[in-house]
């Protein structure tokens, strides 16, 4: 339960940081989408037995939608799709011996 609360708080703060702080740095050639990057990293390094990626993809998409002009759900669909794609690739094609996943 604690893990889930931390994740909610983490994605909320990341979304705030993305939409209120990073937007000022538009003089850089590109700005990273920290919400999606965090969610991708969690999906990649997640323990295959856990389903944390499903929850994080929902959180990532949800907060992305809240603080953007997207209709509610658009970010969630993208985030879910990305997670599924990464999971499929990792399960079918990638074997990293000794790589510990949380």
């Amino acid at each position: 339960m604690k893990k889930y609360l931390i994740l909610i708080l983490f994605f909320y703060l990341i979304a705030l940081f993305q939409t209120s702080f990073l937007v000022h740095f538009n003089f850089f050639p590109f700005l990273p989408n920290l919400i999606l990057i965090s969610q991708i990293l969690i999906t990649v390094f997640e323990n295959p037995k856990e389903n944390l990626a499903l929850f994080t993809s929902f959180l990532a998409g949800f907060f992305w939608d809240i603080f953007s002009e997207n209709p509610l759900g658009w970010g969630i669909i993208i985030s879910f799709s990305l997670s599924f794609l990464i999971k499929i690739i990792l399960r079918q094609y990638v074997r990293i011996p000794g790589l510990s996943r949380f």
């Binding site: 909320y12 209120s20 702080f21 937007v23 929902f58 603080f67 509610l72 759900g73």
Partner: protein, 265 residues
Amino acid sequence: MRLSSKRKKTGIVVFSILLILIILNFFLIHKGIKNFFYVISSSPQRFLWKIGDKVSAFLEVILKAQDLQRENQELKLKVFGLLREKIEKDQLEKENQVLRKALEMGLEREFKLEIAQVLGKDISQDYLLINKGKKDGILEGLVVMTEQKVLVGNIEEVYQNFSKVKLISNKDSSLDVKVLEQDAEGLLRGKGNFKLSLELLPKEKEIDQGDLVLTTSLSGLYPKGLLVGEIEDIKKEDTQPFQTARVKAAFEIGQIEFLLIITDF
């Protein structure tokens, strides 16, 4: 079997979430949800916005310093280019004015002219350097005057792109002239340093101060009727067979910027 049931469960959860979201969007409930998050986030958002603004402004200055320097250099070059263009335009305008005056005086009907710009003045030796030379068809001996039909001198030396003009006040310069009012002919000699002396004037002619001196075509070297200057003072001695006079040149060396070279008359 267990795995398949787990997948089914996940699919149902995902499907349910999406269905809920569609319903939320359809009944515009999502606006209320967004509003709730905006209300609770407004304070940290304002704080982050301010910090982001300051940090980005600082970084932008650092990152763009090099660009600014380059931009500054480009602008400087542009300013120099524009200044050069302005100078060229001013010169063309002046040249145009000189030619217009020459046209007004009908000089183009009397002579074939070439306009030249004065580049240097060797005042001590009564020489001028002009920007027309051999490539412009300039020859030694050609007569040089101002647009007011005032005689200045003649071409002494011709280079490829430049020429040296010997002023009439040069010590080696002499020409036939006449005093307009008295119709008295004499020989004008340069005395150096812009001084002119009119010699061999017949004694019986009554020359007055202020009388105008013009060129004659006696020698064939100068066209007749060019203004040379005016009589400044006259020297008449009983022991001398001729009278002499000091002549003030009609041109002002400091004012001359453009000259007209008579290529044919």
